[in-house]
């Protein structure tokens, strides 16, 4: 895996900035005890039903299962949650308009509202044949200087635009079959996507342009992931694989617009963003062309080379100088932090417990860490000091050439991806009406997603290939109970 220069320094710097751990020793010991992965698969663990701790939602497990608020949210915050939801659903319009609070769209964009990609607050998917991509887009960059946006097209390809400004182009996806055979002879055909960009409206791309497809992730549990202490993430990091288990686990670091310094980052497919707020601000800017206090350019992702785009009217409020007012921004962040993880199902079912054992034995938990306890001083009280079960370590891992995008992001190399959380994954079909997984939705089922794992997960994958049909079904039953 590639290691951009400066990473080690960033690690050291961040370690110094983290400061002393606030946890008392006895509490730290109790937490260590409770987050230790179980070895008993005869029954469900205490609280396993509540992957989001007391914030877990027990609302109806229908297509709105990802849209409930933290169950421990006091009633008097419900209004803010609902208004935040409204902003999340808000369709932005171009400027100038009769509704100055809702304008500022674009000029280039991928979607007109948050909800357009995060349908039902769920997972996006690749476009159907012949339809434009919405919940999947392409990140663009060039190698030098590191992480630099493509000089003309910027940091991502926007396939929509306001009237009078050309859109940038369209992604075209071709698929190629990749057969995989289990030890017992069962065959699975994976489909490997190949991306191209067609209909470029601003001239050719830089010859060294790197492309990374990104699908919209589900919105649940973001506030809880944010509330995991840096120390607890770093405790699992093993960048040089000193324990020799073949799994490194590297933290990513990046710039925080809020604290104006380099910090541990954890959000996004390559863990490029430090917080719910910054991740959201960049999504508003890059995906919709909406500026906010953390991303102030009214033109969004238009580059200097796209002069008409930069010159188009923006929808900034004259007082605040941004299109998404601070008040609206805070409400939508509050909403995003409090979208609850739904309760698990069937945790005591013998098949599910067998699948859990298979998952643990195969080594999946080497990256998909089952449990954390969140910090006490979380941004919102709902996420404070909860035992949570995200099944992620929030670290980067080499996932092999099959999944590689070849495009670095911060400390993340071209074959590395951040372990995504698994909570709620079993409700994907219920909520989103599809079963497309991984960073670009290439996997058409949970088993396909498992089989795409390579690199540091190759050993686990080999174990899965040797499982009996019954064990494989149990593994999927376990994932579906998430």
């Amino acid at each position: 895996m590639s290691r951009p220069a400066g990473t080690a320094a960033a690690v050291l710097l961040a370690a110094l900035l983290l400061g002393p751990a606030a946890q008392a020793d006895d509490e730290a010991a109790r937490i260590a005890d409770v987050v230790r992965p179980t070895t008993d698969f005869s029954k469900a663990e205490p609280y396993e039903l509540n992957p989001g701790g007391a914030a877990t939602s027990f609302g109806p497990l229908n297509s709105s299962a990802f849209s409930h608020s933290s169950a421990n949210m006091p009633f008097d915050r419900e209004l803010d949650f609902k208004v935040g939801d409204g902003i999340f659903r808000k369709l932005w319009v171009s400027s100038p308009s009769s509704t100055p609070s809702s304008d500022g769209l674009g000029p280039l964009y991928n979607a007109r509202s948050c909800q357009s990609c995060h349908l039902k607050d769920g997972r996006g998917q690749p476009p159907a044949k012949g339809e434009p991509a919405v919940s999947l887009f392409l990140r663009l960059s060039v190698p030098v200087p590191a992480d630099a946006p493509e000089p003309t097209y910027g940091g991502q390809l926007q396939n929509f635009s306001i009237q009078g400004i050309p859109a940038e182009g369209e992604m075209a996806i071709a698929y190629e079959d990749v057969p995989v055979v289990f030890a017992d002879g069962e065959r699975v055909i994976l489909q490997k996507p190949l991306y191209r960009i067609v209909g470029l409206n601003y001239g050719p791309l830089h010859p060294q342009t790197m492309i990374s497809p990104r699908v919209a992730p589900p919105m649940i549990g973001m506030g809880l992931l944010e509330a995991i202490r840096d120390e607890d993430i770093l405790a699992f990091a093993d960048p040089e694989d000193r324990d020799g288990d073949g799994i490194s686990g590297r933290p990513n670091y990046g710039w925080s617009e809020d604290s104006k310094k380099t910090v541990l980052t954890r959000f996004g497919w390559k863990a490029g963003q430090p917080s719910v707020a910054q991740q959201s601000a960049y999504a508003f800017a890059g995906d919709m062309g909406i500026s906010s206090r953390l991303a102030r350019a009214g033109w969004g992702d238009c580059t200097a080379a796209q002069s008409a785009c930069r010159a188009a009217p923006d929808g900034s409020d004259p007082k605040e100088g941004v299109e998404l007012s601070d008040k609206m921004f805070d409400l939508v962040i509050f909403y995003a932090r409090n979208l609850a993880v739904p309760t698990r199902r069937n945790v005591d079912d013998p098949t599910v417990l067998t699948g859990k054992r298979v998952f643990y034995d195969a080594g999946c938990i080497g990256c998909h860490r089952p449990k954390f306890v969140t910090r006490r001083d979380s941004a919102e009280p709902e996420q404070s000091f909860q035992l949570i079960w995200p099944y992620t370590d929030l670290l980067l891992h080499d996932m092999g050439e099959g999944l590689a995008d070849g495009r670095p992001e911060g400390a993340a190399g071209g074959t590395e991806w951040r372990t995504p959380p698994l909570w709620g994954i079993g409700l994907t079909e219920t909520v989103s009406g599809h079963s497309r997984f991984l960073h670009d939705g290439r996997a058409r089922s949970l088993m396909e997603a498992v089989l795409w794992h390579g690199g540091e997960a190759e050993a686990a994958r080999q174990k899965v290939l040797k499982l009996s049909k019954q064990e494989r079904d149990a593994l999927i039953a376990f994932l579906r109970s998430m």
């Binding site: 937490i31 005890d33 409770v34 205490p46 039903l49 509540n50 007391a54 027990f58 609302g59 109806p60 229908n62 297509s63 709105s64 849209s67 608020s69 169950a71 421990n72 009633f75 008097d76 419900e78 209004l79 803010d80 949650f81 609902k82 208004v83 939801d85 409204g86 659903r89 808000k90 009769s98 509704t99 100055p100 609070s101 809702s102 769209l105 674009g106 007109r112 909800q115 357009s116 990609c117 349908l119 039902k120 607050d121 769920g122 159907a128 044949k129 012949g130 339809e131 434009p132 919405v134 929509f160 635009s161 009237q163 008040k327 609206m328 306890v373 000091f385 909860q386 989103s432 009406g433």
Partner: protein, 426 residues
């Protein structure tokens, strides 16, 4: 995700029965729940009668399209809306209502799915692939690589295929607002005066037809109206003496029933009406953010919501025919448990109704609701904010009433906070 329901954190839908001294004997609680179910039956029967009258008016209009018959259909829609909006206090506390609600009252909607829209509407949108599908003009549309056959407009096409197609909630194909759009058309006046103004000739026969596909538009209107009647008939039956909704309540724990009443009052007041339907629009100053946006009927629709909230608390509902359904309300139980809380809540419910009456009056005499929330309209904004404040304020008293009745949230398995370390950490 607008139809998402969040139960009161304080009541969490179901309540644990705690013997409450002075909070009313069993028979009294039972009587309160009976009244609540009786009122539901009456409201949904009125809503059904309203929908049937609308159906009659729509049939008459389609048989003989004209200015007068369109006006009559619109009047029938406005009248039908009143009892339905009063019924919304039965949401949130009753799962059966919540599961069904999206069929009749889903909102907001991307009207371009259904029919033609103004040019200003659709130039820059594609994230909802069916944003401008215009089913009325296009018997076949492609979605997700599959062709949707809309050659014949049927109930199943609207309610099973098109409604929320592609998981896009704004793809609303059925219910009051679909019918409203077909009767009024888009309101293109922004925050200026005026509602939607669809010409009757959109339904004219032969050469007089405007905007094309008048036959299909008429068929859509007819089918959507018929569906509304079916859906309301189903819900009215649920509250009849042997209906599922009534049986669930009457045969369940008494305190669970009382909790359903108060959960509905609280969640409609606070999250739904004050938050989603009012505060958001006021914050954005966006005329599209009004509940009955085609007909400019939002003031009535909001007003009937708060009348409904007060009604279930008092145990009183005035039917469309002027007769009153009356019985013991939750108010009586709270009065026994804590008279001061009861007085306070009644006063606040009255105050809220008064604030909404003022808003309604302003809509009838000065300016429409979408103008009130316009940017820079200080007086109009203040009237809307006062109504929101009244709802917020009454919600606090609803919480006190819950406490007075000692209705406690059910303790879900293992949902305790980790702040109870004795339980979590051995």
């Amino acid at each position: 995700m607008k139809t998402t329901l969040r139960s009161l954190a304080l009541g969490v839908c179901l309540a644990l029965a705690v013997p409450a001294a002075g909070a009313g004997a069993a028979s009294e609680k039972r009587a309160v729940i009976d009244t609540y179910a009786d009122i539901a039956q009456a409201i949904y029967e009125d809503a059904l009668a309203g929908a049937k009258a609308l159906q009659k008016a729509v049939d008459a209009f389609l048989a003989k399209p004209g200015e007068a018959s369109l006006k009559a259909a619109r009047q029938a829609w406005l009248a039908a809306r009143e009892p339905y909006q009063t019924s919304e206090v039965y949401r949130f506390g009753n799962a059966i209502v919540d599961d069904w609600e999206g069929r009749v009252n889903a909102w907001p909607l991307d009207e371009g799915l259904i029919d033609y829209v103004d040019e200003s509407y659709g130039k820059e949108s594609d994230e909802n692939p069916l944003f401008t599908a215009n089913v009325i003009a296009n018997p076949k549309t492609v979605h997700g690589g599959e062709t949707v056959d809309a050659t014949t407009i049927t109930k199943a096409l609207l309610s099973e295929t098109l409604h929320e197609i592609g998981k896009v909630e704004a793809n609303v194909a059925t219910g009051y607002h679909a019918v409203e759009f077909l009767l009024w058309g888009q309101d293109l006046n922004g925050t200026g005066p005026g509602a939607g103004n669809r010409p009757w000739t959109d339904y004219a026969k032969g050469k007089a037809c405007t905007h094309g596909s008048c036959d299909r538009r008429g068929a859509y209107l007819k089918v959507a109206t018929d569906l509304l009647v079916d859906d309301l008939a189903w819900m009215a039956a649920q509250w009849a003496p042997k209906g599922g909704a009534r049986k669930g309540l009457v045969e369940g724990e008494e305190d669970a029933g009382l909790s359903a009443v108060l959960t509905g009052m609280g969640s409609l007041s606070y999250g739904e009406l004050a938050g989603e339907r009012m505060k958001l629009g006021l914050l954005l100053h966006d005329p599209e953010e009004e509940h009955d946006c085609f007909s400019d009927n939002t003031h009535n629709s909001h007003y009937r919501n708060v009348v409904g909230i007060r009604g279930v608390y008092l145990g009183e509902y005035v039917r469309s025919n002027g007769k009153t359904v009356k019985g013991p309300g939750v108010s009586q139980l709270v009065a026994k448990a804590d008279p001061a809380v009861n007085r306070e809540l009644r006063a606040k419910l009255d105050k809220t109704v008064a604030a909404f009456a003022a808003l309604k009056k302003r809509a009838e005499t000065v300016e429409a609701y979408d103008q009130m929330i316009g940017e820079g309209n200080v007086a109009g904004n203040a009237v809307v904010q006062a109504a929101i404040d009244a709802l917020t304020d009454q919600t606090k008293s609803i919480e006190r009433a819950v406490a007075a009745l000692r209705l406690q949230p059910i303790a879900f398995e293992g949902s305790e906070s980790l702040d109870d370390p004795a339980k979590v950490f051995k």
